[in-house]
């Protein structure tokens, strides 16, 4: 069971959240210049890494806001959560989750 640190509400149980998949995917454009291959890559191909993954989460049964997270797909440990539209903080940088000071970076329990 995961304890996920919502940047707005603090640590909450995994069942309150939904994962929205890979973050930072940019829609290619202008559309008149996008090849079928680029479009397919945008729509369907995914990083799917074994290790750290940057992904979107939705606090569905809480504040109902979206945020980003960097999570390890092997340990399931959340390294950091950060707001939509922001770049992912590198390891060592502090998290953006100021709404929940002192909250643990969500871990596996």
């Amino acid at each position: 069971m995961l304890l996920i640190d919502c940047p707005f509400c603090g640590p909450r149980a995994e069942i309150e959240f939904r994962c929205g998949g890979e973050s930072h995917i940019q829609r290619p454009g202008p559309h008149t210049e996008v090849s079928d291959a680029e479009w397919a890559d945008y729509l369907y191909n995914r990083e799917n890494p074994k290790g750290e993954h940057r992904e979107r989460w939705f606090h569905a049964a809480g504040c109902r806001r979206w945020f980003n997270a960097a999570r390890d797909t092997v340990t399931h440990r959340f390294r950091v959560t950060y707001k939509m539209g922001e770049a992912c903080p590198e390891a060592g940088e502090s998290a953006v989750s100021e709404a929940a000071p002192g909250a643990v970076a969500g871990g596996v329990i």
Partner: protein, 415 residues
């Protein structure tokens, strides 16, 4: 020495103190060059190796497995076999697979315990009922056995179903030729038969990189050294993206944990396979007496081969909705496999952008039933360079052309 399994060999070895059995497959040292290399010792890889030798006469073949054969999803699945798909492409492919399964124990001289005990999909509301009728009609049009049953008929056929469930059982579709088989036996049977034809089964050997020259594959780098071959097939399920990335390829695959459970063993009480999409349940009873049930996907990427509690709870709740009398049974074991999910729930079988490198993946939650056909078709394209007619529509180019085969919505099947 006992090579062939039979009632007579059992008797003979019984009298002989069981001293004459041989290991079921050889444990050879890897060679440096092969005519074909298959990566992944799950059912699909093993079946591919077997059919390369059997159907195409290629016997200088290596099957390379990182751990032990059958240790991936093949040995972790709930073993439901069926062909109740919607689109003609899928129906033809999965039906071919069921037909191969029907003959597989004989073909491999290995009892895979395929038990065609029927496979029921239950409907709990009006929409489910409409879906069930549509599904039964589609199956019949595709030439596949299917029976639509109304509620009372479902109850007459499946003893013990909750007479007063919260989600009423209004009807269902049965595929009488569906059922289950012994997963380990499928892996071991193919391994033994492939090995007997000359295939080298190399376990505890990880493929770490590809040798690629001018866009053409020339071999693989493994934890046991370099092995050369101009023909390489990969069937590594949940690790497809990770391995394909070594060849510079990006795939439309997401890897998720899918979990399953068995209960403590009890006397026979359920003689068919039940799928109830609305309650998220699939359930059968093993020959040992354990109830075998599976959960839904844990819907975030995972390579952890363990499932999480909320889905375990949901699966148990679904079973109790159908069979409240199981409430005091205990889970004996829980585990998960990492499944390779693609957007349209249709497999990928065929060539890649790297010459000589072929791929078999995208089975998601339902590739056990497809093992014979998946191996057959990957072997075909590896040996001949041409797609097998049954797998023509399953090429990776469909994600570029847009010709997806969306079984996820068409047959509404999770597993």
């Amino acid at each position: 020495m006992t090579r062939r399994y039979s009632a007579l060999s059992l008797l003979r070895e019984g009298l002989n103190g069981q001293r004459g059995w041989e290991p079921a497959w050889r444990d050879p040292a890897p060679k440096t060059r092969y005519d074909a290399i298959v990566i992944g010792g799950g059912g699909h890889g093993l079946a591919t190796a077997y059919y390369l030798a059997k159907n195409h006469g290629l016997t200088n073949v290596a099957l390379i497995e990182r751990g032990w054969i059958g240790g991936g999803n093949t040995g972790r699945n709930t073993t439901i076999i069926r062909s109740n798909y919607f689109f003609p492409e899928s129906a033809a492919f999965y039906e071919f697979s069921v037909q191969l399964y029907e003959k597989l124990s004989d073909e491999l001289n290995y009892n895979i315990m395929f038990s065609q005990r029927g496979m029921w999909t239950l409907a709990h509301d009006r929409h489910g009922l409409e879906m069930a009728r549509r599904s039964a009609n589609a199956m019949l049009l595709n030439g596949i056995d299917a029976e639509f049953h109304d509620g009372p008929s479902v109850y007459a056929h499946i003893p013990g179903l909750n007479p007063d469930p919260r989600f009423p059982i209004l009807g269902g579709v049965n595929q009488p030729r569906g059922g289950s088989a012994r997963h380990d036996a499928v892996a071991w049977g193919y391994a033994r038969a492939a090995s007997a034809l000359g295939v080298d089964i190399i376990q505890n050997c990880e493929v770490q990189d590809f040798l690629i020259e001018g866009g053409q594959v020339r071999g693989v780098e493994t934890s046991h050294g370099t092995m050369r071959s101009d023909r390489v097939g990969m069937a590594v399920a949940g690790h497809s993206s990770v391995l394909a990335a070594k060849a510079g390829l990006r795939l439309p695959v997401s890897s998720y944990a899918l979990q399953a459970f068995v209960s403590e063993p009890v006397k026979p009480c359920l003689d068919t396979v039940i799928l109830s999409p609305a309650t998220g349940t699939y359930l059968s009873q093993s020959d040992k007496g354990e109830l075998v049930l599976g959960a839904g996907l844990d819907l975030y990427l995972s390579y952890a081969q363990r499932g999480n509690l909320p889905w375990m709870e949901r699966a148990a709740a679904g079973v109790l909705e159908l069979f409240p009398q199981f409430s005091r049974m205990r889970f004996l074991r829980q585990w998960a496999g990492i499944v390779d999910v693609v957007h349209d729930s249709t497999p990928i079988i065929g060539p890649t952008a790297v010459g000589g490198l072929y791929i078999n993946c995208g089975w998601g939650t339902g590739g056990f039933k497809a093992i014979p056909a998946g191996g057959w078709c990957l072997a075909h394209v590896m040996a001949t360079g041409r797609s097998h007619p049954l797998a023509d529509a399953f090429g990776i180019e469909r994600f570029t052309t847009g010709a997806l085969i969306d079984e996820a919505s068409a047959s509404g099947i999770a597993h």
